[in-house]
C-alpha cells in the first residue's frame, strides 16, 4: 500500500472520529448538566467545582463555561454571607462551598421573571449528594467576605427595602409554633403524612 493511501486512510479515520464525537457530544452535555452520577463523598475540591457547574447548568442558562473561583470546605464563618444559620446545615456532614463566576441568565416562567447574575454560590452536602443551598449575586457584594475581595460592589436594590417605620402597620404577631422540633441531620425514616383538614 502506498504512503498516499495510508495518509488518506488516516485522514478519513480522523473525519469519522470527529463526526462521531460531534454526534456523541450532546449526550455528554446532558450527563454533565444537572446531577453527577457518581458519589460526591470523596471527590476533590476541583471535581466539586465541576459538579457545581453542572448544578448551575440545571438552574441557569449560559453560553460560556463559568469559572470556579472558590471551591473549599464550608466554614462556620461563611454562614452569614450565605443567608444560613447554624441550624440550617448538618454540621456532621462534609459540606462544600463553591462559587462560580460567569454570565448566568435566569428565567422563572411562573413569576415572569428574567435576571442576569455574575456570581452563583452553592453549598453542597457530600453525604446527601446535592446542593442544599444556592444564592446569586449580580456584582458579588454579598460574597465579598467569602472571596476575600473588598472591592466587590453591593448589588443594586430593585425594590426599596422597607424601613421599620415603613413596614405596614400594625406589625403582626407571630402565632406560636406548635410542636416545633429542631432541625436534625435526619435518618432514613419517612415522615408520616398529614391528611388535609380545616384546622
Amino acid at each position: 500500500m502506498s504512503r498516499t493511501k495510508i495518509l488518506i486512510g488516516i485522514f478519513v479515520t480522523l473525519i469519522i472520529g470527529i463526526a462521531l464525537a460531534a454526534y456523541l457530544r450532546p449526550q455528554l452535555v446532558k450527563a454533565e448538566c444537572g446531577r453527577s452520577n457518581r458519589s460526591m463523598v470523596n471527590v476533590s475540591s476541583a471535581e466539586m467545582g465541576t459538579i457545581a457547574i453542572g448544578m448551575a447548568c440545571r438552574d441557569f442558562a449560559f453560553t460560556a463555561d463559568p469559572n470556579v473561583i472558590l471551591s473549599r470546605t464550608l466554614l462556620p464563618s461563611d454562614l452569614p454571607s450565605l443567608y444560613l444559620d447554624a441550624e440550617d446545615i448538618c454540621s456532621g456532614h462534609k459540606l462544600d462551598l463553591v462559587i462560580l463566576k460567569g454570565a448566568f441568565h435566569y428565567t422563572n416562567a411562573v413569576h415572569a421573571t428574567e435576571s442576569d447574575y455574575s456570581y452563583v454560590a452553592y453549598v453542597i452536602d457530600r453525604e446527601e449528594g446535592i446542593d442544599i443551598m444556592m444564592a446569586t449575586s449580580k456584582n458579588g457584594g454579598p460574597f465579598r467576605k467569602l472571596l476575600n475581595d473588598p472591592s466587590l460592589p453591593d448589588d443594586p436594590i430593585i425594590v426599596p427595602k422597607q424601613s421599620v417605620t415603613k413596614v405596614l402597620s400594625p406589625e403582626p404577631t407571630d402565632p406560636p409554633e406548635i410542636n416545633e422540633i429542631p432541625k436534625s441531620c435526619g435518618d432514613a425514616s419517612i415522615r408520616p403524612t398529614r391528611a388535609p383538614n380545616k384546622k
Binding site: 488516516i10 472520529g17 453560553t63 441568565h105 446535592i130 442544599i132 443551598m133 444556592m134 444564592a135
Partner: protein, 238 residues
C-alpha cells in the same frame, strides 16, 4: 488489506486523536447549557390587599425522574407580587436523585427572590417525605424581623419544622397560589393535589380560604387544573 502491523495502530491512534481534537478544541467541546425552561401549573388568587401569609396541604410529586440530569420536581405554595421586578417566597417539596444513587428522595424546600433581585433556594435534608403523601406547608411574614418570611412544614405526627427564615426584606406580598413547577420542561410532574388553600391578610391572624381565580401554565405543555372543590382544593396535572 493492512499488511503492515503498525498500520492498525496508526488507525487506532488516529481515531483517538480525532476524538480528542473534536472534544477539546471543536465548537462542540464547550459546555453549552440550554438552561432551565420551566414547566408549571399554578392556581392563584390575586389580592388587592396585602398578603401576610399563605398555607396549603400539598401532595409530594411521585413521578420518578426519567431524564438523566433532571432532579427538580417540586410542588409549591407561594406568595408573590406581580410588579416589574417581582419578589417571591415559595415552599414545597423537592424530588432529586442523590449523586451516586438511583432512587429519588423527597425533601422540604424553599425558594425566593429578594429585594436585590437575587434568587436563592434551600433544601432541608433532615426530613424524608412520602412520594404522593400529603403534608401541610405554611409561610408568613415573621414579626419584627425587618422583612424575613418564615416557611414551615407540619407532618402527620403534628411535628413542625421551620424550613427557612428568608431575608426577603419586604413586609407584604400581593398574590397567593398553589401548584407545581419543574425546572426543566421535559420534566413533567404528573399530578399534584392541593387542599385547604388559605391566605392571611396583613394585620389579622385569621386565615381566609380561597379558590383560585386565575391559573398560570407553560403554554407549550399539556396541562390541566381541576375546578376548585369544597375543600378549597384542586389538582394540577402536567
Amino acid at each position: 488489506m493492512i499488511k503492515n502491523p503498525h498500520k492498525s495502530l496508526i488507525l487506532f491512534f488516529s481515531v483517538l486523536i480525532g476524538f480528542s481534537l473534536a472534544l477539546t478544541f471543536g465548537p462542540l467541546g464547550k459546555v453549552f447549557a440550554v438552561g432551565p425552561n420551566n414547566a408549571y401549573v399554578v392556581g392563584a388568587l390575586r389580592q388587592v390587599n396585602s398578603v401576610r401569609g399563605s398555607k396549603a396541604y400539598l401532595t409530594t410529586p411521585d413521578v420518578i425522574a426519567q431524564i438523566v440530569g433532571l432532579e427538580n420536581y417540586y410542588s409549591l405554595t407561594y406568595a408573590g407580587t406581580y410588579i416589574s421586578n417581582p419578589l417571591w417566597v415559595e415552599t414545597g417539596a423537592r424530588e432529586y436523585i442523590p449523586s451516586g444513587q438511583s432512587t429519588p428522595v423527597y425533601k422540604p424546600r424553599t425558594g425566593w427572590r429578594d429585594a436585590s433581585g437575587n434568587v436563592g433556594s434551600y433544601t432541608y435534608t433532615g426530613w424524608n417525605l412520602y412520594p404522593g403523601g400529603w403534608y401541610y406547608y405554611e409561610l408568613h411574614y415573621k414579626a419584627n424581623s425587618g422583612g424575613n418570611w418564615r416557611t414551615k412544614i407540619i407532618d402527620g405526627a403534628g411535628n413542625t419544622v421551620i424550613i427557612k427564615d428568608v431575608p426577603l426584606t419586604l413586609s407584604a406580598l400581593h398574590e397567593v397560589g398553589s401548584g407545581g413547577e419543574s425546572t426543566d420542561i421535559v420534566g413533567l410532574i404528573g399530578d399534584i393535589s392541593t387542599s385547604y388553600n388559605g391566605w392571611q391578610q396583613w394585620g389579622t391572624t385569621y386565615w381566609y380560604y380561597y379558590c383560585y381565580t386565575t391559573s398560570y401554565h407553560n403554554p407549550s405543555i399539556p396541562w390541566s387544573i381541576t375546578p376548585c372543590g369544597g375543600s378549597y382544593d384542586w389538582t394540577i396535572h402536567f
